[in-house]
């Protein structure tokens, strides 16, 4: 999803970073109107140790580019600069520059959102994370675990965002009911190649939510993504030349429930979330296109490929600034009907990939976070791999308020 920039752009981005620091150091003016636009910085990094080095792949899945479970030893995570604020009485704008540790900057999000349309309507346009699912719109640093949930990695390449437009309507009800429709360029996994003249992906979602008494609240959603793939290559290191052309449809059902004693989440609170996802792919996979005998695996008509996944996670804040969380995630690819797929990365290898993660987090302040995570990686045949992470995340300067 990150589009790499040339050197000149990197220099420009460095200048923006310097500006951000200047803004952070600058005393804010009274009235809460402080600095317009707001500028914030997110820094992350981690140390990881694995019981075995094993490249990330999921049997039965041709993966997107930015998937994986991190590298061992010392690692810098993504560094981000976010600039946001109201542009004028009609528009809100936000841009998120992401700097990859190996160098290179990308525009993760850069969107405008209307604030003045009547009757509960709003439009969002530019580049942004789709509103599908629950975790999809959440920035990585705001999630409870080191890695995106396994089904998001397998079916959406971690997180689906692209260039496009979103129309959203909030119903005039006393509980939340919202409907959103999106049209994207179709350049990001699971779409690819910006098909249909740069109209390669459509998405839609319906979400509802409310309170359950004073202490609990909920949010449920159903989402669909229809993505067109034109020569979508896989980021899987084991088969980098595999490409897919065809249609990919992803359905997501999401449920989130939060609880805090008397609704006061400051000291202790509990959050449970679960999502179930399903993908259907119709088209053809081309294996080893530059080889002597390129193979096209048929996924058309009755041969359509089906993959699915789910995760369940719970997070409990047991003391002010102390949290524990547990996540169980599984994905499953049905064996392709075309016999040509047998023995390739598209074959499920008789194993349901599974990842179990547990973490404990301490926040020295509202602006910093230290996380220790253990993951049991049973994504591939053979013995489970144990993965340990020690990760920090800091947010300096202004930071957009977190969504539910």
């Amino acid at each position: 999803m990150c589009h790499r920039w040339p050197m000149a752009a990197r220099v420009a981005a460095g200048a923006i970073a310097a500006l951000a620091f200047a803004a952070v150091a600058r005393a804010q003016t009274p009235g809460g109107a402080s600095w317009n636009p707001n500028i914030g910085l997110v820094l992350t990094g981690y140390y990881a140790q694995f019981s075995k080095e094993r490249p990330f792949s999921l049997p039965g899945f041709a993966l997107g580019e930015e998937t994986g479970l991190g590298g061992s030893g010392f690692n810098l995570g993504e560094s981000e600069i976010t600039v946001y604020g109201n542009i004028d009485p009609y528009l809100y704008g936000s841009v998120n520059f992401s700097f990859a540790p190996e160098g290179g900057a990308g525009v993760e999000e850069a969107f405008l959102q209307t604030t003045a349309l009547p009757a509960g309507f709003s439009l969002k346009f530019g580049r942004f994370f789709s509103g599908i699912g629950y975790v999809n719109g959440v920035h990585r640093h705001a999630d409870d675990f080191f890695e995106p949930p396994l089904p998001y990695q397998a079916l959406l390449g971690g997180q689906f965002g692209d260039d496009g437009v979103q129309a959203r309507w909030v119903a005039p009800t006393n509980f939340l009911l919202e409907i959103g429709l999106e049209r994207f360029r179709g350049a990001s996994f699971p779409s690819g190649g910006a098909g249909d003249k740069g109209n390669g992906a459509d998405a839609g979602f319906v979400k509802a939510g409310g309170d359950l008494g004073e202490s609990a609240s909920w949010l449920a959603g159903f989402s669909r993504l229809n993505a067109r793939a034109d020569g979508r290559t896989t980021g899987d290191a084991s088969a980098p030349e595999t490409s897919f052309s065809g249609d990919s449809r992803v359905d997501i059902a999401s449920l989130v429930w939060k609880w805090a004693p008397a609704g006061n989440s400051a000291s202790s609170n509990l959050k449970l979330q679960a999502e179930v996802m399903r993908r259907e792919e119709r088209g053809a996979y081309t294996l080893d296109p530059s080889g002597a005998a390129p193979t096209a695996v048929d996924f058309r008509g009755g041969n359509a490929g089906h993959q699915a996944g789910w995760y369940v996670q719970g997070r409990y804040q047991f003391l002010f600034r102390w949290r524990v969380a547990l996540r169980q995630a599984e994905v499953k690819a049905d064996a392709p009907k075309d016999p040509l797929a047998a023995g390739t990365l598209l074959g499920p290898a008789g194993r349901t990939p599974r990842l179990t993660s547990a973490m404990i987090e301490f926040d020295p302040s509202e602006f910093s976070q230290i996380r220790f995570q253990y993951s049991r990686d049973e994504t591939q045949p053979g013995a489970a791999v144990n993965r340990w992470y020690l990760q920090y995340t800091i947010t300096a300067g202004a930071h957009p308020a977190h969504t539910y």
């Binding site: 349309l117 006393n174 509980f175 009911l177 609240s217 989440s265």
Partner: protein, 305 residues
């Protein structure tokens, strides 16, 4: 669910929106961030407004989830009435943006920040987060001084007149009536609180700056080492050493705060730990704005008897 169904749904939503059943709604729908502003809206608006608070007196207004129900309530609001001064910076902006309600965005008549009507205390000369959760605009906990309530009431009455001109007369009348009753009560509270002048106290969080400025109570220490940073043993020991040399009369906390740190210090120092309502609903007795101050004063005066 197919795409056509979704598009149809959105089209239907558009038709419903044009027919907007809410347009005929008689009452001014007020979304208050804190209970004291919901109560003030009810005092001034009577039957012409319906006001609900996003938070209760037992919730920490610094840390509120941007819950789906709150988005729905902001979506339907005619007026968003909040403290401001960055108190709600962690949750209100999300509600405003996601509500897609053009009538309550900052800068519109449907948005009112109470703190903007009040001279703020403790505005830091320099904002450095090494100092803890400091609010750049100043201390936002303005509702603990009744003179501030009066200032906000004057602006709110005008705002109601602007939003609902057909009842302008009623708002003006109710506003004048409230301001008279409030001035009488404030004079009574001030007289009642005379023994509190110069009394040294320790507080959990800097919640009471305005109350103390009004009554001349002397704040000699905080349980939090820095604003928003939870009390640590080291800091409490240091604080107690200071209190042995210069004793305080009581330890004060808000109804929404953990009672353990204040009881810990109070027991060791042999002074009472006092829980004040902080806002409406913070104690069972603080059921409206008048009782909020009645109860606050009776709880402060109790240890002096």
């Amino acid at each position: 669910m197919s795409f056509k169904a979704l598009f149809l749904g959105l089209a239907l939503a558009g038709v419903l929106a044009v027919l907007d059943p809410g347009a005929a709604r008689a009452k001014v729908n007020v979304f208050a961030c804190e209970p004291e502003w919901a109560a003030l809206a009810r005092e001034l608006g009577g039957d012409f407004v319906s006001a609900q608070s996003a938070t209760s007196g037992l919730q920490d207004p610094h840390h509120i989830e941007a819950r789906p129900s709150l988005i729905a309530r902001v979506r339907n609001a005619d007026l968003v009435l909040c403290t401001g001064a960055e108190l709600e910076v962690g949750w209100l902006p999300v509600l405003l943006l996601q509500s897609a309600n053009p009538n309550i965005q900052p800068g519109t008549p449907g948005y009112l920040e109470a703190a903007a009507m009040v001279p703020l205390l403790e505005a830091p000369a320099q904002v450095d987060r090494a100092q803890g959760d400091v609010h750049a605009a100043g201390n936002p906990h303005i509702q603990t001084d009744p003179r501030n309530i009066a200032r906000v009431a004057a602006s709110l009455a005008q705002r109601f007149e602007q939003l609902d001109p057909s009842h302008a007369q009623d708002y003006a009348q109710r506003g004048a009536d409230f301001s008279r009753r409030w001035a009488e009560a404030s004079a009574r509270w001030k007289a009642q609180a005379a023994p509190l002048k110069g009394v040294p106290v320790v507080v959990h969080h800097k919640d009471w700056t305005y109350l103390f400025a009004w009554l001349g109570i002397e704040e000699v220490g905080t349980l939090e080492p820095k604003p928003g940073v939870p009390p640590s043993t080291a800091h409490l020991n240091q604080l107690m050493a200071q209190l042995r040399a210069h004793p305080a009369r009581m330890v004060i906390r808000g109804g929404y705060q953990d009672d353990r740190p204040s009881r810990f210090v109070a027991e060791r120092m042999g002074i009472p730990a006092v829980a004040l309502p902080f806002t409406i609903g913070g104690t069972p007795q603080a059921t409206d704005l008048f009782r909020l101050f009645d109860d606050t004063l009776s709880r402060l005066l109790e240890p002096l008897r």
